[in-house]
Structure formats: structure tokens, C-alpha cells
Amino acid sequence: MPLIELKNVSVRYGEIEALRGVSLSVEAGEVVTLLGGNGAGKSTTLRAISGLTKPASGEIIFEGQSLTGLGPEEIVRLGIAHVPEGRRVFPGLTAHENIMLGASNRSGVSKAQIDQEADAMFDLFSDIRPFQHVLGWTLSGGQQQMVAVARGLMAKPKLLLLDEPSLGLAPVIVSKVFEIIKEIRRRGTTVLLVEQNARMGLSVADRGYVLETGRLVVTGKPDELWNNEDVRAAYLGGHARTAAKT
């Protein structure tokens, strides 16, 4: 049984059909990347899983249980943490406070315990340790991304959803973020990683899916996807070339 399975999920925003019958699955322990260009429906897929957007049809099953009708607050309690696009760090709270709030889905944990766990996060995210008592809005994009991922991990998720963690970051920061994703993978957390940057996404993944205008077009292992001529030409090549140029 996969950890999570999407069966024929469609999502509409008014007239726009953002997802058209998407089916995909992630096994426990896997890192799966969801690739695709801007507007392909990657974020919508993650929003449907975490309950921010209700599918018009289809079903999402997590650990054998249907998520239909559950809201984001309930879904995160089941063990799915969503680190959304744009990081969404609370601007008026410190990095440390932001990270502490990541544990809000777990009941019966004392404030002292959460405080300690948040401190421990700075071992993995040592770059932001000096900024832990600084307000969110003063952090750089890369620092905010690290806070957002650390906050996601505080939920002790069975499944971590990461939406474009590399977006808008300098290359050297991007590789730092991906080092952290590799470490998360080593610790055994299942990850569904959304990326426009195909090279980075495939570098950490066990498998990948490619999404185009709301439809899954191809799936496979990283090297298969990377070497698939059609895929490269249509979805990945463009980005690979852009990446090489910059």
C-alpha cells in the first residue's frame, strides 16, 4: 500500500481546470519529485493533498484513509506537512518562534519540549542559528526557506510536501537547501518535492512525475526522465539550458 495515493484528482478554479484526472502515488520512504513548467498544476496538487483546495472529483488516500472532506488542520494532524510556495514565514514572529509553531499539529507536547526540539533544528539548519531570534520579515529568502522547512519538520510528518524550495534563491543557497533535503531523505522522511528546476529535483529523487497543463504526461526514475528525449525537449531541456546559461 502506498503512503499516499491520488486517484483521478481534478481541481477547478472557477472556469480554469487546474488538474485533470491526476493519479500518482508515493511509497513510504521514497522521495518523489513532481516536475513541470509554470502553471502546470504542481502547487495545486500539493494544495489538494493538504486540504487547502477541494478537488472537484477524484480521491486522495493517505495510509488507507480517504482525505475527502478533511480540512488542512485535520490533515496536518494525520501527518502531512506542507511547506508552501513562497515560504510563508510569519513576518512578525522570530525564526525560532516560527519553527516552534510547526509542532502545532501534535497534541500533548509541552512548550518546553517544543522549545528544545526547535533548538535542535538548528543543528540541521546551522546557517540560520545566528538569526533564530530575528523577526521573520528581516530574513533573506534562503534563510526564510530554511525556517519554512524546519517548521515543516517540527510536525514530525510522515509525508513532507515541499513546494519549489529553490525558487528565487542564489545557486549556492539552492545547493544548501538540497543538501538538507538529502539529509531529510537519509533520516527516512517521505517527501513529495515540487520543482521547476528539473535537474535539482531529479538529483534527490527516487522517482519523478512530469505534469503539463493539469495532466501527468510521464513518470519514471530520474535517469529515465532525464534521458527521455521528449521530456527533455518539452519540459526539462528548456530549464536545463536556462540553468546552464545563468
Binding site: S50, L52, G71, P72, E73, V76, R77, A81, H82, P84, R88, F90, P91, G92, L93, E97, M100, L101, G102, S104, N105, R106, K111, I114, W137, R151, A155
Partner: protein, 291 residues
């Protein structure tokens, strides 16, 4: 010189009431992004509850006080459920109209029940006041100032040092993200309305012996609280407190040195002056940074 201290004392006393109401106003604004036009009625309803319990029923002051505050907690919860919650996914405009409607409904219902004649609520303490030098300290004003100091300190501790306080702040900054973390957003907003109604009610009960208890009390207090938040910078908690105190002092001095009948008009003047010349409030930059 003594007259200056005397006026300062009274100004800070009445300003504390404005500060408390403004505080409740700002908390709701930050949590829901909605300007609550029925904020003043929180104070009016609480004052009328006090009249019911302590004057009409002649129950002891402290029991009446606790019952009134408890009543305001319930009122805040009902207000949230009836006025805000059904419209929470709409834009701010329907919600604002809803709060205006609630304000009219509540003050007119009170009018229907109690008629237009103002009610009188006596001071909490039998001991009316004392002199320090030539400055007369009225105990009701001292009480107001004392309660405000304690409440502001409590609120600071609560928001800065408890997890619930942090969750409330997170909710006011980004509701969708808060819900993704498992913070119960609807409950956080409920807590905000209940707390806001209670501090507004507390302000109403404290100021009732100074003003008359009437259906116009809500409108007057709401205008002052609104002016206070503009002075302090809209949406800023510390600004609301400073703005409330500043307004109390300004209008007390205005009444003493310029004109007594226009006392309430000074709030308007200050409001307009700030809107024209310094719309970001005294602490403008800090608020912008916090946004």
C-alpha cells in the same frame, strides 16, 4: 503648575479607557482584517449589564462585576458567531456592513428596553479620593489607571511568552499558513472576539461612573478608540495604548483651556489632523515594518 498635573492625571485616566477599547479594536482588526464598528457597544452592553445586576437587582458590586464580564465573554462569542463567522470567507466589506448592522441593532434594542434616559452607576470604591499636595486623585480614575496597567502587562506577557499568544499572532499574520500548521484558526478568532469583548466591557464598566450609561456611550467610545488607533498607527498594539492615552490627555487639556462643550470634538479634530498630516500614525515606520 498644579492644574497641569491635575489635568494630566484626569487625561491619563480617561485615556486609559480609550486605550483599553482601542486595544480590543486592534486585536480584532489584526485577527480578521475587519474594522469592527460595533466595538463601542461592547462597552455599552457591559455597562448596562452592570446596571441590571448591581442597580436593578441590587446584587453586590463584585458579583455583578464578575457576571457582567462573564456576560461579555458570551456576548463576544455570540458576536463572532453571528456577525463575523458566517461572512469570514467574504471580502471585508460585507463584514463591515454586518458590524454596522450589529451596532445599530444592539443600541436600538437597548433603547427599546431601557428608554433614552441615562442610567447612573456609582463608583466602585466608597472612598472618593484624596489630595497629594493640591492635586486631587479621584479613586475611580486611579482604579482605571491601575487596571489598565495590569491588563497591558498581562497582555504583553500573554502574547510574547505563551504558545497560545504566538498562535494568535500567527493567525493574525497568515491564516492559511496557520491552518497548514494545525493551528485551529476558527478557535483563535473566537478567543480574540471573546477577549476583545471582555476588555471593551471592562473599559465600559470602569468608565460608567464617570460618563452616564446610555445608548450613546458606545458611539462616543468607539469614536475615541478609532481616533486612538489612528494616532498610534492603525493595527499597532502599542500604538493603540499610546494613542488612547494621548487622546485622553489632549481632550482634557482642550476642554480646560479651549472649550468644554467641544470636548468630544477634539477627538474628531485630532483624527482628521492625523489622517491628513500623518496617516501612518506616530509610530508609522514601525508599523510598516511589522506588516
Amino acid at each position: 503648575m498644579d492644574i497641569v498635573f491635575q489635568l494630566l492625571f484626569q487625561g491619563i485616566g480617561i485615556g486609559s479607557v480609550y486605550a483599553l477599547v482601542a486595544l480590543g479594536f486592534v486585536l480584532i482588526f489584526r485577527a480578521t482584517n475587519v474594522v469592527n464598528f460595533a466595538q463601542g457597544e461592547f462597552s455599552m452592553v457591559a455597562a448596562f449589564l452592570m446596571v441590571i445586576f448591581s442597580v436593578d437587582l441590587e446584587w453586590p458590586y463584585w458579583i455583578s462585576f464578575i457576571l457582567s464580564l462573564g456576560g461579555m465573554a458570551i456576548y463576544g462569542a455570540l458576536f463572532n458567531l453571528g456577525v463575523y463567522f458566517p461572512l469570514r470567507h467574504r471580502t471585508y466589506l460585507p463584514v463591515i456592513i454586518s458590524t454596522i448592522g450589529a451596532s445599530i441593532l444592539v443600541s436600538n434594542s437597548t433603547l427599546a428596553l431601557y428608554g433614552p434616559q441615562p442610567q447612573v452607576l456609582s463608583n466602585l470604591l466608597d472612598f472618593p479620593g484624596f489630595n497629594i499636595g493640591t492635586v486631587y486623585l479621584d479613586t475611580q480614575y486611579l482604579l482605571i489607571i491601575g487596571v489598565t496597567v495590569v491588563l497591558v502587562a498581562f497582555q504583553y506577557w500573554f502574547f510574547e511568552h505563551t504558545l497560545l499568544g504566538k498562535k494568535l499572532q500567527a493567525t493574525s499574520q497568515d491564516k492559511e499558513m496557520a491552518s497548514l500548521l494545525g493551528i485551529p484558526v476558527a478557535t483563535m478568532i473566537m478567543v480574540t472576539f471573546v477577549y476583545s469583548a471582555m476588555i471593551g466591557g471592562l473599559a465600559g464598566i470602569l468608565v460608567a461612573p464617570i460618563l452616564f450609561v446610555s445608548i450613546h456611550m458606545g458611539g462616543t467610545i468607539a469614536l475615541k478608540a478609532f481616533a486612538a488607533t489612528i494616532i498610534g498607527g492603525f493595527g499597532d498594539v502599542a500604538g493603540a495604548i499610546i494613542g488612547g492615552l494621548a487622546l485622553g490627555v489632549i481632550e482634557t487639556f482642550g476642554a480646560a483651556y479651549v472649550s468644554v462643550p467641544y470636548k468630544d470634538g477634539f477627538a474628531f479634530l485630532v483624527l482628521v489632523a492625523f489622517l491628513v498630516f500623518r496617516p501612518q500614525g506616530i509610530f508609522g515606520e514601525r508599523v510598516a515594518e511589522k506588516a
